[in-house]
C-alpha cells in the first residue's frame, strides 16, 4: 500500500504551515491565560497535547486512501447526529449553551466533528449522483437533509456560529458541484422569503439576541463592551505590538473568551500589525493550497473534499478575525488551529490531512 509515489508527493508545505499556525496558537494561549495559577494543567499545555494527538491523527488519515473515508461517511455522519442528540440529553452547559460532552478527564464538542462529517457525506453524495446537467431542487433533497438535521440540533444548543459555518460550507460545495442557475435563483428567493416568516415565529428575547448579533451597540454591557475592548486591544498593538506577555488589555483579562474566540486580539495586541500579517499569510497560504489541491485533483471526490475543507478553514478565519476587528457581528466561531479547544484543533487537522491525502494520491488514480 505504501507506494514510493506517496512519499515523493508528500505535501510538506501544507503540513508545515498547519503545524506552524498551531504553534502560534499555543504561544498565544500561553499569553492569554497568563498567569497560570491553580492545580489544573495550564490550557496551553492541554492544547499542546491535543496538537500531538492531532498529528497522530494526520498520519492515520494519510495511511488510507481518502475514498475509503468517503465510503464510510454516512455511518460517520449518523454517529455525529447521535452524539449531538447525546449532548442535548447529558451535555455540559457553559455560559448558557449546551455543547460539551464530558468524557472524564476531557470534554468533547460534537458540533466541531459535524463539520467534517458534513463535508465527507456531501462528497459521497455528489460523487455517486453526478449530474452533468447540473442539479435541480429535487436532486438536492438528500444534501438538504444532511445540512438540516445537524443544523436543527446545533441551533438548539444554541451555537449560532457553527450553524452559520455549516451553511457556508454547504453553499461553497454547491458552488462547485454544479447547480442549475434556476435552482440558485429559487434557493435565493426561498431564503429571502423564509427570513421574515421565521422572524414572526421568534420570541422577543430571541429577536433581541439576533439583533444584538447584527448590531452590538444594542447590548453595550456585554457584546458591545467586548467589541470595544477587542478593538482597543487590536489597535493598541500598532505596527510591532507591545511584546510577548506585555499586552495590557490581554493581561487584565477584559475579554471573557480571549483564549478561544478572541485569541486574535491577544496576538494583535502583543505582536502588532506585523504579527497579524504573518499569521494571516500563513492562513492564506493554507487556503490557497486547498484551492490548488481541489483544482488539480483528478477525481470528483478529491475535488469536493478539498473544497469543503478549504471552505471550512477560510470561512472560519474570515468570520473570526472579522469579528475581532469589529467588521462582522459577534458569533462564536474559533480561529482555526489557533483558538483554544481540543476538538476544534483535532478536527481541523483531520481536515488538513484529508486535503493532503487528495494531493498525495492525485497521480495514482485507479478506480
Amino acid at each position: 500500500m505504501l507506494d514510493r509515489r506517496l512519499i515523493i508527493n508528500f505535501d510538506w508545505p501544507t503540513l508545515v504551515t498547519a503545524f506552524l499556525i498551531s504553534c502560534i496558537g499555543i504561544f498565544n494561549i500561553y499569553s492569554s491565560t497568563f498567569p497560570h495559577g491553580g492545580t489544573a494543567a495550564p490550557l496551553f499545555l492541554k492544547q499542546a497535547y491535543w496538537l500531538i494527538l492531532g498529528l497522530g491523527l494526520v498520519i492515520f488519515v494519510l495511511a488510507f486512501d481518502y475514498r475509503t473515508f468517503v465510503r464510510y461517511s454516512y455511518p460517520f455522519f449518523l454517529l455525529c447526529l447521535l452524539l449531538l442528540i447525546l449532548v442535548m440529553a447529558v451535555g455540559r452547559t457553559t455560559s448558557g449553551s449546551q455543547r460539551w460532552l464530558s468524557m472524564g478527564f476531557f470534554s468533547f464538542q460534537p458540533s466541531e466533528l459535524t463539520k467534517i462529517a458534513l463535508i465527507l457525506a456531501m462528497t459521497r453524495f455528489f460523487t455517486e449522483k453526478e449530474d452533468p446537467r447540473g442539479y435541480g431542487l429535487r436532486e438536492l433533497g438528500i444534501p438538504f437533509l444532511l445540512l438540516g438535521l445537524p443544523i436543527l440540533l446545533i441551533f438548539k444548543q444554541p451555537d449560532l456560529g457553527t450553524v452559520i459555518l455549516l451553511l457556508l460550507i454547504f453553499t461553497s460545495i454547491l458552488l462547485f458541484v454544479g447547480v442549475r442557475f434556476k435552482t440558485w435563483a429559487l434557493l435565493g428567493a426561498g431564503v429571502a422569503a423564509a427570513i421574515p416568516i421565521l422572524w414572526i415565529f421568534l420570541k422577543e428575547y430571541q429577536k433581541n439576541r439576533l439583533l444584538t448579533f447584527l448590531n452590538p451597540d444594542l447590548d453595550p454591557l456585554r457584546t458591545g463592551y467586548h467589541i470595544s475592548q477587542s478593538k482597543i486591544a487590536v489597535g493598541s498593538g500598532a505596527l510591532f505590538g507591545k511584546g510577548f506577555l506585555k499586552g495590557t488589555q490581554s493581561q487584565l483579562h477584559f475579554l471573557p473568551e480571549q483564549h478561544t474566540d478572541f485569541i486574535f486580539s491577544v496576538l494583535a495586541e502583543e505582536w502588532g500589525f506585523a504579527g497579524c500579517v504573518f499569521l494571516l499569510f500563513l492562513l492564506l497560504f493554507l487556503i490557497s493550497r486547498g484551492v490548488k489541491i481541489a483544482k488539480t485533483s483528478k477525481d470528483r471526490a478529491g475535488a469536493t473534499l478539498a473544497i469543503g475543507v478549504t471552505a471550512m478553514i477560510f470561512w472560519q478565519s474570515f468570520i473570526n478575525v472579522g469579528m475581532v476587528v469589529g467588521i462582522l457581528p459577534v458569533v462564536g466561531v474559533p480561529l482555526p488551529l489557533v483558538s483554544y479547544g481540543g476538538t476544534a484543533l483535532v478536527t481541523t487537522l483531520a481536515g488538513v490531512a484529508l486535503m493532503m491525502n487528495v494531493s498525495m494520491r492525485r497521480f495514482m488514480l485507479s478506480p
Partner: protein, 625 residues
C-alpha cells in the same frame, strides 16, 4: 494568487474557482485594510486608550419587584443607598490606600484585606464592593478626599426597605449578599460579587422573578477615573411584582395579638387555601439584613435561644393536644365504635394498667356523651374511645385529614409532623405498641406532632366540605406594567373521606365549645359571629400527676386554639399556638378572638345561628366552599 485555470476544467467549474478566488481576496483585503486602519492609522489613539484608561461598565441597578397584599397595598418599598466600590487596576499602591479608606469608612483594615483576598480570581478591571449603604458623612468624606483615593468609586444603588419592619418577616424573608456557592449556580450567571439576593422566605423563593435585570452604561473615563463620555447605555429591567394572599390589616392585628408571646398564628381562607395572616414569634427585622447586617445583630439573632429565624407556623412541630380529639371523635363515629349517644363516666381519673390517667378536670365530668366530651374536652371520654379504636384506626383518619404530611406550603422548609402507627413504632424503636399509648394518642399527646399550618389546613378541609387546599401565599406574578405573567389558582390536593353526618355533628359540637357556657373555648366568642373551635393543651413533659404547678416557664404546656367562622359556612380559619402558654382556652383562644373580631368588623356580616345550621346541614350547601 494564481488565477490561471487548468485546461481540463469545465467552464462552470472554472467560473466557480474564479469566484472563490475573488471571495478569498476580497475577504483578506478587507481584513488587512481594517487592521491597517486600527493598528497603523489609529494605533496611537488606541495605544493611549489602552494605557491611560479604559472603557468601563457602570452598573444601573434594577429596582426589585414589589410585594403587594391582597388589597394591592405594597408591603415593601425602596430607598437609594450609596455603595463604595474599588477599581483595583487604578490603584497604584494598595497598601497606601487601605489605611485612609479604612478610616473614612470606619471599616477595619483586616475586613478590606480579606475582601481583596476573596476577590483574587476576579479580573482586576471589575469593580469590587468594599462597603454598602454608607452614611451621608462617609459619603461626604469620600467625595472630598477623592484625589487621595484612586480607584475608589461611589455608586447609587436602590435598596429594599421593609416599612412594616418585623411584620410577616418569616413570610417575606430577607436579602443578603450573594454567596460564592450561589454565584456558581446557573441561574445567577448574571450576578456579581456584592449583589444582594433573597436568602429567606418569599424573597428567596421568588428571587428570579423579583430580581429584574441590571442595566448599565459603557463609559470612557480618564486617568482619574472620571467619566468623559457615555458610549452606550442599557436601561435596567425592573423585577416583577408579586401579589400575595396576605391581608395587611389582618396581619397587623394578628401581630398585635401575638405580641410578647412565643408561638405561631395562621389565618387562612378555607375556601381556597389563601393565607390571610401568618405570624411566628419571636421575629426579626429584615431591614437589618438589607442594609448589611452587623456582626452583633447577626449574632443576637442566630444565638437567640428562641430561634427568631424559625418559622413556627411550618417548622414548629408540637403535640396537637385536645385539638386532635375531633379526629378521634370522627374516627369513632365513622368506624361505628360509638354513636353520638354513647356515654362514658368520667370521675376525673381513669386507671389503666398500673397508672392513673387523669382528666384535666379533677372533679370529673360525670356521665358524658360525645357532644359534651368535645365541648368540655373531657379526657376520660377520649381515653375510653381511644382504647376502643386503637392507634391505627385513629391514624387512618388523621392521615386522611392531612396530618403527618407537609401541606405543600409554597415556600418550602416545611416539617411534616407525625401520625404514629404501631408499625411506625416497631420500625423506629423495635418495640411493639403498648395499649396504654392508645390513651395518650387519643388526647393528642404521645408521639403525635403537627405544625400550626397543618392544623389550619386540616380544619379548613374538614369544614369546607372536604376539600384539602394547598396553602396559597402568592396569587399571581405580574410584570411592572401590570400584565399577568403567572397565576397560581387554588389547588385541591385531596378530598377527605368523612361522611357529612359526622362532620355536621362535630361542627355543631365545636360551635358549642365556643358558645356554650361550659365550653372550653368560650374566650374566643365573638358577639354576632358564629365561631366554632377547639382548645388544646399540649404537655411539654410527661407529668406524672396531672396538672402540677410548673416550676420553670419552659416546662409550661403549649396552648392551642383552632377555630373557624362562620361555623356553618366558614370563611376564615384561625389557628393559634402559644409556646409554654398554659391552657389553650385561657391563652390561645383570646388571641384568636382578636383576629376574628377584626375580621368580622371588617366584613360586618349578618350573624348566623347554630339552629340555622342544624336545620340545613345539606352537603350541597357545604360544597359551595
Amino acid at each position: 494568487m494564481r488565477l490561471k485555470l487548468d485546461k481540463n476544467l469545465t467552464p462552470e467549474i472554472s467560473k466557480a474557482f474564479l469566484l472563490a478566488n475573488i471571495i478569498i481576496i476580497v475577504a483578506f483585503s478587507l481584513i488587512f485594510s481594517r487592521l491597517w486602519y486600527l493598528q497603523v492609522l489609529k494605533g496611537d489613539y488606541y495605544r493611549a486608550l489602552s494605557e491611560n484608561n479604559r472603557i468601563r461598565i457602570q452598573e444601573i441597578s434594577a429596582p426589585r419587584g414589589t410585594l403587594f397584599d391582597r388589597n394591592e397595598v405594597p408591603l415593601v418599598d425602596s430607598f437609594p443607598s450609596f455603595d463604595v466600590s474599588l477599581y483595583r487596576q487604578d490603584v497604584p499602591d494598595m497598601e497606601a490606600l487601605i489605611r485612609p479608606l479604612s478610616r473614612i469608612l470606619s471599616t477595619p483594615e483586616e475586613k478590606i484585606r480579606s475582601r481583596l483576598e476573596a476577590a483574587r480570581g476576579i479580573p482586576l478591571h471589575q469593580p469590587l464592593k468594599i462597603k454598602t449603604n454608607i452614611t451621608r458623612e462617609e459619603l461626604a468624606a469620600v467625595e472630598t478626599r477623592r484625589l487621595d483615593l484612586p480607584g475608589v468609586v461611589v455608586d447609587v444603588v436602590i435598596r429594599r426597605n421593609y416599612p412594616y419592619k418585623n411584620l410577616a418577616s418569616h413570610l417575606i424573608g430577607y436579602l443578603g449578599e450573594i454567596s460564592q456557592k450561589e454565584l456558581e449556580q446557573e441561574e445567577f450567571w448574571n450576578h456579581k460579587l456584592g449583589y444582594l439576593v433573597g436568602k429567606y422566605g418569599i424573597e428567596k423563593k421568588f428571587e428570579l422573578d423579583l430580581m429584574g435585570e441590571n442595566g448599565g452604561r459603557q463609559i470612557e473615563v480618564n486617568a482619574m477615573g472620571h467619566k468623559i463620555r457615555v458610549l452606550g447605555q442599557a436601561e435596567p429591567n425592573p423585577g416583577n411584582n408579586l401579589h400575595l394572599s396576605l391581608d395587611l390589616e389582618l396581619q397587623k392585628v394578628a401581630e398585635e395579638a401575638m405580641a410578647g408571646k412565643r408561638g405561631a398564628l395562621v389565618a387562612m381562607n378555607p375556601r381556597n387555601g389563601d393565607i390571610l395572616a401568618m405570624v411566628s414569634k419571636p421575629d426579626f427585622d429584615p431591614n437589618l439584613f438589607a442594609r448589611g447586617i452587623s456582626a452583633e445583630n447577626w449574632k443576637s439573632i442566630v444565638e437567640n435561644p428562641a430561634h427568631p429565624l424559625q418559622n413556627r407556623t411550618i417548622q414548629g412541630q408540637y403535640p396537637p393536644g385536645s385539638v386532635f380529639k375531633i379526629l378521634v371523635a370522627m374516627a369513632g363515629l365513622e368506624e361505628k365504635a360509638i354513636t353520638p349517644e354513647t356515654a362514658f363516666q368520667c370521675t376525673g381519673v381513669h386507671p389503666f394498667g398500673d397508672r392513673e390517667y387523669r382528666c384535666w378536670n379533677k372533679e370529673g365530668h360525670g356521665w358524658v356523651s360525645l357532644r359534651r366530651a368535645i365541648v368540655e374536652s373531657c379526657d376520660v371520654y377520649f381515653y375510653q374511645l381511644g382504647m376502643r379504636l386503637g392507634v391505627n384506626r385513629i391514624a387512618k383518619y388523621a392521615s386522611a385529614a392531612g396530618l403527618g404530611d407537609p401541606t405543600g406550603f409554597p415556600l418550602g422548609l416545611e416539617k411534616p409532623g407525625l401520625v404514629p402507627t404501631s408499625s411506625w413504632k416497631m420500625k423506629k424503636f423495635g418495640i411493639p405498641w403498648q395499649a396504654g399509648e392508645n390513651l395518650a394518642i387519643a388526647i393528642g399527646q404521645g408521639y403525635n406532632l403537627a405544625t400550626p399550618l397543618q392544623i389550619a389546613c386540616t380544619f379548613s378541609a374538614l369544614f369546607n366540605g372536604g376539600n384539602y387546599y394547598q396553602p396559597r401565599i402568592v396569587q399571581s406574578i405580574r410584570a411592572p406594567h401590570g400584565e399577568s405573567l403567572r397565576e397560581f389558582p387554588p389547588l385541591i390536593l385531596r378530598n377527605i373521606p368523612v361522611s357529612s353526618g359526622t362532620i355536621e355533628f362535630v361542627r355543631e359540637a365545636l360551635w358549642g365549645a365556643v358558645n356554650s357556657p361550659s365550653g372550653t373555648g368560650i374566650k374566643a366568642r365573638v358577639e354576632g359571629f358564629s365561631v366554632a373551635g377547639k382548645t388544646g393543651t399540649s404537655q411539654v413533659v410527661q407529668k406524672k400527676e396531672g396538672k402540677s404547678e410548673p416550676t420553670s416557664p419552659d416546662l409550661q404546656d403549649h396552648a392551642w386554639f383552632a377555630c373557624f367562622a362562620p361555623s356553618h359556612h366558614p370563611e376564615i380559619t384561625v389557628v393559634v399556638l402559644v409556646e409554654h402558654g398554659g391552657g389553650g382556652g385561657t391563652t390561645a383562644a383570646p388571641v384568636a378572638r382578636q383576629v376574628l373580631e377584626f375580621y368580622y368588623q371588617q366584613l360586618k356580616r349578618p350573624p348566623s345561628s347554630p339552629a340555622h345550621i342544624a336545620a340545613q346541614p345539606t352537603p350541597a350547601r357545604l360544597d359551595e366552599g
